[in-house]
Symmetry: C2
Subunit: 495 residues, 2 copies
């Protein structure tokens, strides 16, 4: 056995970190899904202590030396990929001086807290000073990361969410979409104007919705011996691969929100539940980037669950759990699940108009981070782009315009592209599946979902962080990310 | 402001420990109440990492010096009491060499694991070798603690659970009880033989039992904004004072088990929820000993909830949640809740026979730890004492005899007395309450429970670990623990 003392030290160190992250994931889930309100202060203090411990471990001064020495050790290709991920984590944890991290945390907390009321009050002028402080620190952060990596500022931020993906790639991909999306939306709207849709009639008791969600999750392969479904104000997927915790929220008048949300989170959950067991505890064993993760939730929610084929499977389950009604008839259900209507709010957007929301944000935040525009330029840009892409007027409506998302107040720049990259990856995965299974829709209609799950297992879940994102895309689907797959998917489904 | 640098270091260190203990409490609760089975291995590893971290902090080599120096600093009486508790924690964490701790953990895990099947199989001979190893290590541990404190072996162990209480106290108290308990049991049995009792008729749907439990908990002052009720195989009270997690288990055919269990845990919970906020995070802010904690659960379950007065409050709640039936009539309910029947199993025992089970165990484990008897002497002693005190024959029945409890296989010696000390403290508290509120039973019957809660708040909850146990007892009730209160309580209720 070749000796790899530095690599062994790293492995031991990251195993410990993995266990601390396990604790953080669990108490974080508990805070959102279980904790009563008066527990908040003590919990915040306990979580802060744990986060400080995790940060100390990620910035342990011995790590730099271990990483350098491990580079010269006799590692196999898996160990080398793991070392690459260790280096990425170490670089991100160490790139920023403590003082900048603290200033960012404070500025973001202040901005986000004030934003909650300012958004309600449509108070852009009140928001601007806090936001300028957040932006200024984000630029400093981006510059330090850029100095450290040789990337541009925006690329350096994006590398956290999509390792290996650059703004030049995004420009190419989103530039293509901008060319055809507005026209596509108009044609879909024309077509749907003449299609009658019957709306479901509630109320739908929460207990029945919960049972329906669990039935559908089981149908989609969620392992309830290795996870749970609970409720929280903001649905999320958390926990650890051996014990995945997903949440949803219920409205008595609308079961589709919780159901489609649950299906979305089930896609995230199956990625986690099926990460390779032999890599758990190592950075290589973590799920690949945000965009790849989103490609799993959208494979489940968009590619699979909003298809006509799946509507036939869903229909009897709805009748069984919620009582039969005309709206649950498969053809009507499929129309319900694919209704397109441009709107102001990203999180309420349908599959077709959603990319417009993301592209708009990317086209503003990239020059914002690079220093080409300033915070006060945002509203005009927002108004113009929203009108160009979705034909909507947002002038003076900051609340439902540039102040609608929590991301920028929290200093989360370069995150938005992952949402639409995820949708595009998912379309590319399903195009690949159709090559090997030309009758995929028939299989889905028959309830034989293994063609989908097996492909995802082989090409995505089992790969974890084995490859950087662009390399993973090439290996799984034979080519770089190509927005033509997404376009063909939308045209096939909506025209 | 006087400078107290060493005390300040200790405060900071124990605040950090408190936060780690918060995390441990929460993931421990989660493991028992929420975690799906496949999460177990990863959770065990994460908890072990956290426990190791906590142990490192409790044994930090700087602590001894800080404690010595703090003794000479200008501390007020509260700080001095806090320092006393810090010293106790530090001494307990450091008394044992790492190798003994590891050997104990291994031997106890092995013994407990094998015991589960051996108990079912009534296999005393198979159990004995594992148990001898556990006992041998417990004696070594007790000897080291004794050397460190100047106490006897058994006293040194008991000081962990009941600070300041000694075997000489227990001998005096239990010796008194042995003198009158068998006679009392016989008289109660005679009396109850002629009292008809109507049994409740099930099934009682779990959802209705859950709603009943929550109603009763609210009636008893449990703050659901600072805690939760959930389910687990073995009910317990956990969490942290700001966020207390209690659990119960439900049987469709018997609602009294879950209801009385919930009331019991609610007593523990109110102690925790009402610990003084200004001491939280300091050892002085922790709930006093196991016996004092049990005095709260038994104040709720035994003193309050099994009283005739309380049966009148409970009766309409049962009818409301479970549907009316003759068994819920107040007088019948009171008889149901005070039925006495000697049995082999401690955890199933009623209020009157329970002390016999505890005294029997104490009379065996004290000489066992002191080396006056050996493991193989246990069955004969058990048989003899069980016959003397409860008139039951346990010969050859190890399963329902000396192998019934998990405590000894786990090396938990000197813990049993706390159960009955708790019952006796509770009786002494209620005797004190009756002195200031001679109409206490009428107040309870009227649903005015504040006389009980206010007394407990003032005398117990607000005191936390301000005093060692015997001092607390004297201050709250004007005298040392006196079993005459317990005797009078039993005679008043059962004769």
């Amino acid at each position: 056995m070749p000796t790899k003392p530095a690599y062994a030290e790293l492995t031991q160190h990251y195993t410990r970190l993995h266990r601390f992250n396990h604790l953080a994931a669990m108490v974080g889930w508990d805070r959102s899904a279980m904790m009563p309100p008066k527990g908040n202060d003590a919990r915040s203090a306990a979580e802060a202590e744990l986060n400080a411990l995790i940060h100390r471990n990620r910035t342990d001064p011995r790590l730099g030396d271990w990483i350098s020495r491990a580079e010269d050790e006799d590692l196999d290709s898996i160990e080398r990929a793991n070392l690459r991920e260790i280096r990425r984590d170490w670089r991100q944890a160490n790139a920023l001086p403590e003082s900048l991290v603290e200033a960012k945390t404070l500025a973001e907390a202040r901005c986000e807290h004030a934003w909650r009321a300012q958004r309600q009050a449509n108070d852009w002028e009140g928001f601007l000073p806090n936001f300028r402080a957040v932006l200024d620190l984000a630029r400093q952060e981006a510059q330090l990361l850029a100095d450290d990596t040789g990337l541009s500022r925006y690329d350096a931020l994006m590398d956290r969410y999509e390792p290996g993906v650059r703004a030049a790639d995004i420009d190419r991909i989103f530039g293509d979409v901008v060319g055809w999306l507005p026209g596509l939306i108009a044609r879909v709207r024309d077509k749907q104007a003449n299609e009658p849709v019957t709306a479901p009639v509630g109320p739908f008791p929460i207990e029945h919705q919960r049972a329906l969600s669990k039935t559908v999750m089981t149908r989609l392969g969620f392992d309830f011996d290795a996870g749970r479904l609970d409720q929280s104000t903001h649905p999320f997927s958390g926990g650890v691969p051996e014990d995945v915790r997903i949440t949803t929220r219920y409205r008595e008048d609308d079961f589709l929100q919780s159901l489609m949300g649950t299906i979305h989170e089930t896609g995230h959950a199956r990625f986690e539940q099926n990460l390779p067991r032999e890599w758990l505890g190592k950075p290589i064993g973590l799920a690949r980037s945000y965009g790849i993760h989103e490609s799993q939730s959208l494979s489940f929610e968009m590619q699979l669950a909003r298809s006509s084929a799946f509507a036939g499977l869903l229909s009897p389950l709805l009748s069984e759990h919620l009582g039969p009604q005309p709206a649950f008839e498969p053809a009507n259900l499929a129309r319900l699940l694919t209704r397109v209507r441009p709107g102001l709010i990203r999180v309420d957007a349908d599959e077709v108009t959603y990319p417009a929301h993301v592209i708009l944000r990317y086209e503003i935040e990239r020059p914002l981070i690079e220093g080409e525009i300033e915070a006060e330029d945002i509203p005009d840009l927002w108004d113009r782009k929203m009108f160009e892409m979705l034909g909507l007027d947002t002038r003076g409506n900051f609340r439902d315009g540039c102040m609608q998302d929590v991301h920028w107040p929290l200093g989360l720049f370069a995150y938005f592209p992952s949402y639409t990259l995820g949708a595009m990856y998912a379309a590319q995965w399903f195009a690949s599946m159709r090559k090997t299974s030309p009758d995929l829709d028939q299989q889905i209609a028959d309830g034989r979902l293994s063609a989908v799950f097996d492909w995802l297992q082989t090409h995505i879940w089992s790969q974890a962080s084995r490859w950087e994102t662009p390399e993973l895309v090439r290996r799984t689907s034979g080519s770089d990310l190509d927005p033509a797959h997404f376009r063909r998917h939308l045209e096939a489904r909506y025209l």
